[in-house]
Each structure stands twice: as C-alpha cells, then as structure tokens.
Symmetry: C2
Subunit: 203 residues, 2 copies
Amino acid sequence: MRGERTRQAVLDCAVSLASVEGIDGLSLARLAQTLGVSKSGLFAHWPDKQRLQLAIVEHARQQWIEEIVRPAMDSPAGLRRLWALHERRMAFYEAGTLPGGCFFAAVAPELDDRPGPVQDAVALANDAWMDLLERVAAQAIEVGEMRPGTDVGRLAFEIQALGEAVVVHSHLLRRGDSYAYSRAAVLDRLRGLATDPSILPEA
Amino acid sequence: MRGERTRQAVLDCAVSLASVEGIDGLSLARLAQTLGVSKSGLFAHWPDKQRLQLAIVEHARQQWIEEIVRPAMDSPAGLRRLWALHERRMAFYEAGTLPGGCFFAAVAPELDDRPGPVQDAVALANDAWMDLLERVAAQAIEVGEMRPGTDVGRLAFEIQALGEAVVVHSHLLRRGDSYAYSRAAVLDRLRGLATDPSILPEA
DNA sequence: AAACAATATGACCGACCGGTCGCTAATATT
DNA sequence: AATATTAGCGACCGGTCGGTCATATTGTTT
C-alpha cells in the first residue's frame, strides 16, 4: 500500500518534531505543513490526535530498539553489553538523528504529571528500558563479570540518569563535554563493579 | 503596596503550575482561573507573557536558592556541603512543595531547543547551579577532604544527573525507590572520592 | 474499461490562545 | 474630604487549536 509509506513518513517526521516541541506542543497543522500534506489528510490515518500520539510513541520505541538496543545485543552478554547499551545511546544522541536529541527525554518530563493513555505508553516504554538495563546487569552477575550483591535496580537508575542528563546538558547549556562526562562516569562505575575491569574499554 | 502581594501570589502559583504544565504550556487563562483573578488583571503587572515567564523563572530561581542552596550553606565547606546540596534537593522534591516536583526539571527539557530570552534565563539559572556544585567540589579539594585531581566538572555533572533523574523517575514511573537510589549513588560516589569517608553519613 | 475502495483535499466549526481597550473600584496622597 | 493613581475587570480582537464533512483524486481489482 502507498498509504503505509506516508504513514511511516508522518511518524518519522512527528518523532523528530516531538523531540523538539514535545508531543503535546506539536500541533497537527504544523506537522502537516512540515510534511507538505493537508491537515485533514492526517485524519485519514488516525481518528484523532491521541491515537496519532500513541502511534508516535510506538514509532519512537521501535526506533530506540532498532538503533540502540539491537546493535548493543551484538556485544557479549554481561558487562560489555551493558556498556554497549550506554555507548550506543550516546552515539545516537551525538549523531543528531533527532533535532531535539531524544524523543523520550523531551516527552517524559512533559507527561510525567499528566495521566492518560499517552503517559501510560511512554511510561511503559521507559519501564521496558529500565527492565532491560536491569536484566543485562543481572546477566553480568550470572556470567561472573560483575560482583555479586550489586544492586542492579540502582545501577540501572544510575545509567539511565547519566544517559538522559546528556540531552538537556548538551542542548540547553551547549556543553559538548557532557558526552565525555557521561561516558566516563558510566564506564568508571562499571569498572568499579567488574571482577575483571580489563574486559571494558580504557577510561 | 498591595500589588506586590498579588504579584508574589501569581508567581508562586505560576511556578507550581509550570512544574506540571511547563512554562509554555501554561496558559494565562488557566493561571488566572486558578488564582481566581481575571486574565486581563495579569497584564496590569507584566506587559506580555514573555515578561511574565521571565519573572516566573526568576521566582523559581529564588525559591531554589532559598530552600536548597541557603540551608546547605550551614554545612561546613567541602564534602559535607556538597552532600548537603544534594540531600536538600532530595528533601525538597520529596516534600512535594511543587506538584510537578521541580520547576527546572519540567522547564529545561521543554526549552532546550527553543532559543530566546526565556531559554537564556533558564540556562543561566542552570549554569549557576552547575557552577555552585563545581565550586563547592573545588573547595572540598582545597580543604583536603577530596582527592586532588578529581574532575570537578564531571562530578558536578554526575550529581546534577542523579538529582534531576529522580523527578521523572518518581513521577512518571511512580517508583519511590528512586530517591534512595539517588541518595545512595551520590553518597557512594562522594565517599569514594573522600580522603576520610567517615565525615560523610553511612550508606 | 469500469467499479470500488483507499487516500487526500479545502472549506468550515466551536473552543481557546495571547493580547487590547475602556471602564470601575480600591488605595495613597494632599 | 477630594484627588490622583494603581489594581483589576469584562468585552472583544485576530489567530490557531483539534476536529468534521463533502468532495476530489488516486490506486487496485475485476
């Protein structure tokens, strides 16, 4: 179908725009204009704005999996995979794929106090990411690369915090060194927990 | 003047609302309605929305200084003061003073790609906070409480990241453990850098 | 080629946006 | 007590918001 092509084009553009304007601040007229289509044309594919927003969140989640999670899975299970998840995230941000840096970094603070289906979708995606970090960290313990007794929940929180902070730090404060800070902080933390730090890159 | 009283009331309410809705999403009609005043009454104090937004940012900055920075200054210069800054921040968030948790956590991601006077004001406030963290960290080195050679810029970034992440984590994902995670992460980090960890609280 | 659905358009709607204006009510000064 | 000034209100403006609808233009199927 040709409709599917435009559907993807709309979602691609919407994720980009939402990374800058937010998912609620993004107006349908503006989205349509950027795409060069008519505003009412959007309603041919989604019944209302909320359904479109849900599709946008899902699209952003797919992009996240495709560009960050999947490539990181090439690294061997354990500490190196955990590090790869963070490194791929940094690379994704640095590449400037999204003008706002990160869809979820822009949308999560916007929706964190506005209950509803869209918030649920974003929370679910965010939760899945946290779970992934925890699972990979737990694997690192299982394969003997990370010290037993490590609080994987807390470690996941730290990696997430150091990863997300880069977006605001580099865009608002225009400090390019935040990428290096974030990488060094996560790497040092992982090396400190490693049974054999030499499997991780140098600081 | 009586006008000054309402001015403060408006700004108080505006900071609260903006911590939820954002500073651009906050509409004048909604702000006026929440306060029980007429929308046009707001224009008696500020010429337009942007000027009001600038006043809101300044008010939030004052609140931050009053409730976090100033109390932390009671702690002795050095590591304990650095820890107090983070602890006061956690306490401020946990107290629920602002319904959205934090004004700057809500506003920074919203404005980080929208240049203009309001962005500049937020960036300036954020920068001042980062500078404060760095200065206090540098003091910790000077007084011999922290290992020389510590990258204070990076340490400030880490503390800021671990502090800000709590807001989204606790509100969007409704995970209460994020406060404990954040405290433990910062405390462990500081103890690792301390020449005498015993001056800091137990983990 | 005809028929039919999927895809897109432009005109239009009520609601709300930021902002203006003329006016009234409260306050401060004399 | 009279006056000058500030504080605040209600009505209204052009513009944009999300959303509807009748209609035209595709693309596919027979």
